[in-house]
């Protein structure tokens, strides 16, 4: 007993703490509202969903141990794990799942949009305590892929704190999930600390992470000095190359590089001059110095179509990489209706983002060589969201990142190219092409993966042909990580790679 006591005390003092910086603040931890990358980072640790996603984009069981989809793809049934329980010890039951979805539909924010026209109140039923059945209003092939985005709430805990607003106030600062971690403290805008729940139903592997501290800072110097003082364990994925270099030089860090499913585009507004002419768009693609961008400015992998190669089964490998060739660009431009004159063009990007400014300058210097007259237009993010709302205000060229919110190509195509999704920063191309819409819709109702793949490959060819974007690169994420920390693997679903149950501390 004495030994046990000592062991305990020893363990307590030898807690493994991971301190990570994040560049944005945590907006919310309410599963019905989480929407961005940072929100998911916290939620994926604090909550569990029915399914989750692994690094190859496969769906893997979490609260549900098994699931089945009916032949007509209109019904999905999940069976919950018998041993699954919430942080307060109560078991996870089908009614909790029903409650979670009903609440999501009522609030109609966050992941709710994934189910618009697919599920609504009453579509989710508890068959028995451990079985839930989803009835889809229309066939929706990517349905299963959207399931990990919804985290299951403890109905009893929330209704006890309902407070007239579906527990929104309460869940803004409290958690009621079955996740591996619980919230310890949260200073909005500055810091969040979560601690491991030793009773987590799935248990932990070797060298589990006991505590995770996120420090909100987008300042490179802060990150460097945190690292220098030994406080930092892991950086965000958004540091500058210099910072990675500096941290690597400290000796304590590994720089982990991973290709992701996030693509980086120059979105060309197909409805305004001069990018309304496909020859101009192709000329821009030819005048892009891919190597410099991918190797010097923003390390990244090849991107030949709108779809990153991470979607291996769906990627059209037949399309070659465009080569940087100013002569060819000039020739292409000569075919456009703007040929023979100085062509004014606006390059938009997010103000204050170093690499975007660099890319913009690089584009400017190349474009001016082939006869464009460039105006730079850096805008703060909020302004970009506004100008993206109208064709006329959307600049001709825009630098935009876009990554899948659920592990299906649909996430990439629908949001960016479908007419129904027009008017957001993700669709600054204003493609609005009936053919494209038809292909996206068709893929959505095609249950069989091979059939889907065929449609998506054709769609890629079509999109490359009309060239609404310059496909700059697929993002390579980099993290400087303490050499003792292992387990990071990129997952093609936002922030699921920061699920700290997947990490371990290998030093003693």
């Amino acid at each position: 007993a004495v030994a046990a006591l000592f062991a305990c005390a020893g363990a307590a003092s030898a807690e493994t703490v991971v301190t990570m910086n994040t560049v944005q603040i945590f907006g919310t931890i309410d599963p019905a509202k989480i929407s961005d990358y940072t929100d998911y980072m916290a939620a994926v640790n604090l909550y569990d969903g029915l399914l989750t996603v692994d690094s190859s984009g496969n769906l893997v069981p979490e609260l549900a141990e098994s699931w089945a989809v009916s032949d007509d793809a209109r019904e999905a049934t999940f069976t919950l794990r018998a041993d699954a329980h919430f942080a307060d010890g109560s078991p996870v039951e089908a009614s909790d799942v029903v409650y979670t979805f009903e609440r999501l539909f009522r609030i109609n924010q966050g992941p709710a949009n994934l189910f618009a026209g697919v599920l609504s109140a009453g579509s989710v039923e508890a068959v028995d305590a451990r079985t839930v059945k989803f009835t889809l209003e229309k066939p929706f092939a990517p349905f299963l892929a959207t399931i990990p985005a919804v985290f299951i709430l403890n109905e009893d805990a929330v209704t006890a704190n309902e407070g007239g607003d579906d527990g929104q106030t309460w869940l803004a600062t409290n958690t009621a999930g079955a996740g591996a971690y619980t919230l310890k403290s949260w200073e909005r805008g500055a810091r969040m600390v979560i601690v491991r729940d030793p009773n987590y139903y799935k248990g932990f592997g070797d060298g589990p992470i006991d505590e995770v501290r996120w420090i909100v800072t987008n300042d490179e110097a802060t990150v460097k000095s945190l690292a220098a003082s030994g406080e930092l364990t892991m950086t965000s994925q958004y540091q500058s190359p210099d910072t990675y270099k500096a941290l690597e030089d400290m000796g304590r860090f590994n720089i982990a590089k991973e290709a992701t499913a996030t693509a980086f585009y120059l979105k060309l507004n197909t409805k305004v001059a001069p990018t309304d002419d496909v020859h101009v768009r192709r000329a821009i693609a030819l005048a892009t110095d891919y190597d410099t961008i991918r190797e010097v400015i923003l390390p990244g992998g090849e991107l030949t179509t709108p779809l990153p190669k991470a979607f291996a089964d769906f990627h059209n490998d037949d399309i070659p990489q465009v080569a940087y060739d100013l002569e060819a660009a000039k020739a292409e431009l000569a075919q456009s209706k703007y040929a023979g004159q100085e062509i004014p063009i606006v390059l938009g990007y997010v103000a204050g983002t170093k690499f975007e400014e660099e890319i913009s300058l690089l584009m400017q210097s190349n474009l001016e060589q082939i006869g464009f007259k460039v105006t730079q237009q850096p805008d703060p993010w909020n302004r970009i969201t506004e100008i993206a709302g109208k064709v006329e205000t959307t600049p001709a060229v825009n630098q935009v990142f876009f990554g899948p919110t659920y592990p299906s190509p649909d996430s990439m195509f629908y949001t960016q190219y479908h007419s129904n999704a027009a008017g957001t920063w993700a669709s600054m191309e204003w493609v609005q092409d009936p053919e494209v819409d038809a292909m996206i819709d068709k893929a959505r109702v095609t249950g069989d993966p091979a059939g889907q793949a065929a449609i998506y490959k054709e769609l890629q060819a079509k999109l490359v042909d009309i060239q609404p974007d310059v496909f700059l690169l697929t993002q390579t994420v980099q993290h400087a990580m303490d050499k003792c920390l292992t387990g990071f693997k990129a997952v093609p679903m936002q922030s699921f790679d920061y699920d700290f149950t997947r990490y371990s501390w290998t030093c003693k």
């Binding site: 309410d30 109609n108 994934l114 805008g189 810091r191 800072t217 802060t222 909020n382």
Partner: protein, 341 residues
């Protein structure tokens, strides 16, 4: 009596200023680009969802109706909900204001404690080396942008010294929930938590220094100029003739009549620092209202923007009222002969 009526009048006017401010800012905040509902919901949200949220927030009502809602809420002390944090703006401000207040207060304290004596020293040894030193320092301090200084201090502390913490208000392993005021220094003293006090002060030093430099420089320069003007007066000479010692002459006889300009600048700074603290707060991950304000503005989180501006407006108006009264106290001539028909 007279003072009381003066005070009441000024408070009344201050309220009017706040009403004016609320109207101006209400309008301005709506000009700021961005669709709040769209930004809150993200790019994948459907148009219906955006519409629904706009409905819920009342953002598609005429602006006058929106303003009436806002004032109605304000009258009940309710600033509405923040889109960014999904919480009541009141709660957000209650959480973040003390941190900013503490920072600003520490800054003003430093600016005052260093700036004024530096100005005095420079004026007294005009054109000699202490003056040159102070002037150079003041110019350096005044034109070094606070973000630059913040980063510099942080790099210095992080790389070279490693003694002072570079982020947050308290170390993560200090277990403490702030008391009623939310001001760590004050609460920890009230509760006798000396360990917390020490930790809080150590956290405060770098951000406050980064923020204080420009103000200190300004105060030093203005104090110097004003002191030199006053030192020409006969009464300073008279004090010398009666053997009043040099330091007293300097810090009392000369400083007090010279105090109106530094006081005014200090008052202005006090308020504007709340707005300017955000860079420092961002660099030092300081959980303050300035950083919150910036985020909400960039997200066009209208309720939160209004809340932050109104709170800092109240603060500003109060500080300037106090300054105006102090000017009267510092220079009785303003009071006695100030009123004329």
């Amino acid at each position: 009596m007279e003072f009381l009526s003066f005070l009441l009048r000024r408070v009344g006017w201050s309220l009017l200023v706040l009403v004016g401010l609320s109207m101006v800012i209400f309008f301005i905040a709506r000009i700021v680009p961005g669709d709040p509902a769209r930004m809150a919901l993200g790019p994948t949200a459907t148009a219906e969802q955006v519409e629904a949220l706009n409905d819920k927030l009342g953002l598609n009502k005429p602006i006058t109706v929106q303003y009436a809602y806002f004032v109605g809420g304000l009258a009940q002390g309710d600033l509405g909900r923040s889109l960014l944090t999904e919480r009541a703006v009141n709660d957000d401000i209650r959480d973040t204001f003390p941190a900013t207040f503490e920072l600003v207060f520490a800054t003003i304290f430093m600016a005052f404690v260093f700036g004024v004596p530096m100005g005095v020293v420079a004026a007294n040894w005009k054109d000699r080396w202490p003056d040159t030193a102070v002037r150079l320092f003041a110019i350096f301090a005044a034109v070094t942008p606070s973000f630059f200084l913040a980063i510099l201090l942080q790099v210095l502390a992080g790389y070279v010294l490693g003694v002072l913490p570079t982020t947050g208000r308290l170390s993560p392993d200090v277990v403490y929930t702030a008391g009623p005021t939310g001001l760590l220094i004050f609460d920890s003293i009230a509760q006798g938590r000396w360990d917390v006090l020490g930790d809080a002060v150590r956290h405060l030093i770098l951000p406050a220094t980064a923020l204080a430099a420009a103000t200190t420089g300004q105060i030093a320069r203005i104090t110097r100029a004003s002191m030199i003007d006053t030192s020409r007066q006969d009464y300073i000479e008279a004090a010398r003739a009666f053997g009043v010692p040099g330091w007293l002459r300097l810090f009392k006889y000369n400083l007090r009549p010279s105090f109106v300009p530094p006081l005014t600048i200090l008052g202005l700074e006090f308020a504007s620092l709340i707005g300017g603290a955000f860079v420092v707060e961002l660099v030092f991950a300081w959980p303050g209202m300035a950083a919150y304000g910036i985020r909400t503005i960039l997200q066009k989180d209208l309720n939160a923007v209004m809340g932050v501006v109104m709170v800092s407006g109240v603060f500003f108006v109060t500080v300037n009222l106090v300054i105006d009264i102090l000017v009267g106290i510092v220079d009785p001539r303003v009071r006695i002969r100030g009123k004329r028909t």
